[in-house]
């Protein structure tokens, strides 16, 4: 079933997109974080550039860390950001 998911961006991902968050529609075939990335990469060259190298990205589903292969399930929020550098 089609639904939408909120995506939030941080650090250089946010800056390069010029966007803090957005809602995107996802079809029933979109099951994993990787699938969401494929949707994003198809949007524009800028998106493709930013989301192609998953090694440089980290993900959280409803504020819990996930991997590209993680199933999004019923998650309402997907966060995409570079490796953290706090502390």
């Amino acid at each position: 079933m089609d639904r939408s998911i909120k995506i939030v961006y941080f650090a250089w991902v946010r800056e390069r997109l010029g966007l803090e968050e957005e809602n995107i529609a996802i079809g029933g075939g979109v099951k994993t974080i990787s699938d969401v990335l494929d949707v994003l990469k198809n949007r524009s060259d800028t998106y493709a550039d930013i989301f192609s190298d998953v090694e440089k990205l980290r993900f959280a589903l409803d504020q819990d860390y996930g991997l590209p292969a993680s199933e999004i399930g019923a998650a309402q929020e997907l966060a995409i950001f570079p490796p953290v550098t706090g502390g």
């Binding site: 939030v8 650090a11 504020q63 570079p82 490796p83 953290v84 502390g87």
Partner: protein, 147 residues
């Protein structure tokens, strides 16, 4: 008692240490991280993921409490625009034993660096900006606790 605080406000290490000490035990370990002067740093901006930060810090503290016998844990992490010499992060742990206090403080710092959703952006004196990159040594330091 676990206390986690995230915000732009500075912290008082003496007051935070006294609060932890007041929870019992005779061993209090603290770590303070500040913006380091490397000669041409103008500002350091700390961004975070508000919906996740508190939860991530609480999880780190809970893990520390399950690994060591602790009376209290305090984690304070600042966000926003900071400059050279400013405080960034404070961790205080209290225990009956110094090994537990010191090791848990070290553990919390290692996890903070690699798990808590904060990002640092430098602005140099010449106006150039740069997002700080993850350090391999931080990842190794954090992973050693899983051994």
């Amino acid at each position: 008692m676990i206390r986690v605080e995230v915000g732009p406000a500075d912290f008082d290490i003496g007051a935070e240490s006294a609060k932890v000490a007041g929870q019992g035990g005779g061993a209090i370990s603290s770590f303070v991280g500040q913006v380091r002067d490397d000669g041409n740093l103008e500002t350091l901006e700390l961004e975070h993921y508000p919906a996740m930060t508190q939860k991530a810090l609480l999880e780190i503290a809970e893990t520390a409490r399950s690994k060591w016998s602790l009376h209290a844990i305090t984690i304070v992490h600042r966000v926003g625009k900071l400059t050279v010499g400013d405080n960034i992060v404070l961790v205080v742990t209290g225990s009956d034993h110094r090994e537990a206090a010191i090791e848990s403080c070290s553990f919390i710092m290692d996890r903070l660096k690699t798990v808590a959703p904060f990002w640092k952006k430098e602005t140099r004196i010449d106006g150039k900006t740069k997002w700080i990159e993850e350090r391999a040594s931080d990842v190794e330091a954090s992973e050693k606790w899983n051994a």
